[in-house]
Amino acid sequence: MTSTTDAATGRPTARPVLQVGDRVFVNLTRGAGVLLLVVLAGVAVFLIAEAVPALIAPSDELPGGLTLIAYIAPLVFGTILSAAIALVVATPLGVGVALFISHYAPLRIAQPLAYLVDLLAAVPSIVYGLWGAAVLGPASVGLATWLNEWFGWLPFFAGPVSATGRTMLVAGLVLAVMILPIITAVSREVFRQTPKLHEEAALALGATRWEMIRMAVLPFGRSGVISGAMLGLGRALGETMAVAIVLSVSGGVTLNLISSGNPSTIAANIALQFPESSGLAVNTLIASGLVLFVITLLVNAAARAIVNRRREFSGAN
């Protein structure tokens, strides 16, 4: 009945019959989209309006007497650095976990395993913060000392090693753990939808399981993996409480990942400074939030570009 060739020959699909139901449905979905657009545009307008006073104010009135750029630049650096660590660690791991659940684990236990990983998403961010500061941080000191000893010539591990382990490396790892379930969940669902015909064809041609995955599953799931990674990245960029609690933010721009002097991140900085801020300081913080927006946008645009180049693999093209 159905096979890939049918789709190819049936290309000029007959338009389905237009009904009242169809028209209602189209408008319903479009309405939802427009509503969403209005809400999100509202957020953007709010942010811009609140950020403007900081953009036009003279720099000596801003917090710390710095220019807006000098104030935000280290935060941008910290944000990108921590999110990059998280993404670099979590993406391969997430894809691995997703593959394990979708293609390696025995069918019977795959569901419970998936459930377990989803549990990671259930942990509130403040708990990740407390866990990072109380458990992961101290546990990382040994690793950091080792890295410093052997790889101290790399700027990342130059030291001095933090005694409490509340470092950029640990903050990145905590973020990685936080975004892992997001990447895993999306990748897993996409991998699971790989057309069985492709998989079987690969196996029938004598491919090993890994070759089958490389040839059939990964190309099919690429868009989903990227999408999951972007969702995860969004969370990592915008994560507030966990970073605020874990990271020791007492330094400027540095690549050093294992010392106690680290740049803050935009979101964490807002959380740390906002409660005691008033007036122009609040505008400055919101302006930094606006910058985070732009970063997210650029990253997502890049991801979209990559996904679209590979569009031929998606089902609904």
Binding site: M1, T2, P63, G64, A133, A134, G137, P138, S162, A163, T164, R166, A244, I245, L247, S248, V249, S250, G251, G252, S260, G261, S264, A271, L272, Q273, F274, P275, E276, S277, S278, A281, V282
Partner: protein, 371 residues
């Protein structure tokens, strides 16, 4: 593909569960009985209604005790407090969002004018929560560490890097200090504690600590942690660590004795409360404003100058009579002897001296209704 079409009819009945919200008739087990343990409110008659305040998180623990005590004797009254931060509290108060605010600093001049406009008259501004800030340290084998202001400044600037540095040794004659790195820990969030601590350093050791008083930590380096709990956690977690935090939260950590005059004084409640007596009231803010510029360089024996004074800010009159009565009743309670004792017990704060309370009581009891 036939299968897909059969699905259409296969409907699950169990979906409604998701919508089931189990909210029928549920009050908390403790809410019908008034929690006792507090003195009756000033007027003797029970008040009712709801007021909300917002502001300093330093007052949160004390505020819980105050709210419990106040609503204990006024069971129909509800007082809410958002410990959203001093800045947020002041902003909300100025915009009329809350009836009263808690703040670790008194209103700035422009804020005061705005507050007077909001209130249509005088602003009530009274110290309600006084707490010593301890210099806490985690250093094995060293008890009763003594520090002079200059040494504290040097440590937190990162200039004194070893525990056996000559400056620390000079403050601690006869003690053996370990050859260990000093790891200073400071607050990473904007806070009244940092504001007061840096103000102290700036006033008491002006040669070494040149940065002005500020709520955000002004120098780079050292370890940073969020909130009092974070600082305590970091100091506990490291070795050779030293930080500053609300004395009541120090737990088992060592608390340094600070040099005042010629003697070394520990962060006790009495010593902290004594500072207010040594400080000058800021003039020209109206009769009901009791703002103090704290005397950090006092040499009087038995005073501990690193203190946090947190204010309660309200209007001297409210258009709504019920609101006026509630604010008046609540603030009267918080600044009463009972209220101060309740806070001392629940939050480890330093009760205001009777002398000071006599001065500020008229300002609080003078809160009235009227446009």
């Amino acid at each position: 593909m036939k299968n897909q079409r059969h699905v259409a009819r296969a409907r699950a009945a169990a979906v409604g569960v998701a919508a089931g919200v189990l909210l029928a008739g549920c009050g908390a087990a403790n809410e019908s009985v008034p929690a006792g343990g507090a003195a009756p409110s000033a007027g003797g008659t029970a008040l009712s209604g709801t007021i909300s305040g917002a502001g300093a998180s330093s007052q949160q623990a004390a505020m819980q005790a105050w709210i419990a005590g106040f609503t204990g004797s006024n069971p129909d009254a509800t007082v809410n407090y958002d410990p959203a931060g001093s800045g947020a509290g002041r902003t909300q108060f100025l915009s009329g969002g809350v009836a009263f605010a808690g703040s670790d600093a008194y209103l700035k001049v422009d804020e005061l004018t705005e507050a007077q406009r909001r209130c249509g008259g005088d602003v009530v501004e009274v110290p309600a929560y006084v707490s010593p800030i301890a210099v806490v340290y985690n250093l094995q084998g060293v008890t009763d560490l003594q520090l002079s202001p200059a040494t504290v400044a040097g440590i937190f600037l990162g200039k004194i890097t070893e525990w056996n540095a000559p400056e620390i040794a000079a403050d601690n004659p006869g003690k053996t200090l370990p050859d260990q790195a000093v790891i200073p820990v400071h607050r990473s969030d904007d806070s009244g504690t940092t504001q007061n601590f840096t103000d102290y350093l700036n006033k008491a050791a002006p040669d070494i600590w040149t940065a002005k008083a500020t709520g955000t930590w002004p120098v780079q380096g050292g370890e940073a942690a969020q909130g009092t709990s974070g600082v305590i956690g970091a100091v506990q977690g490291g070795n050779g660590t030293v930080g500053y935090a609300d004395e009541s939260q120090a737990g088992s950590l060592g608390k340094a004795l600070i040099k005042v005059g010629d003697a070394y004084t520990g962060p006790t409640a009495e010593a902290a409360a004594n500072v207010l007596a040594e400080s000058t009231r800021v003039e020209g803010r109206g009769d009901s404003s009791f703002a103090f510029d704290l005397n950090r360089t006092t040499t009087a024996a038995g005073t501990y100058p690193i203190v946090l004074v947190s204010y309660q800010i309200a209007c001297s009159k409210y258009p709504d009579a019920a609101q006026a009565a509630l604010v008046k009743g609540f603030l009267t309670y918080t600044t009463s002897a009972d209220g101060q004792q309740a806070a001392a017990k629940a939050a480890g704060s330093a009760p205001l001296s009777d002398e000071l309370r006599t001065q500020i009581t008229p300002a609080v009891t003078g809160i009235t209704a009227g446009a």
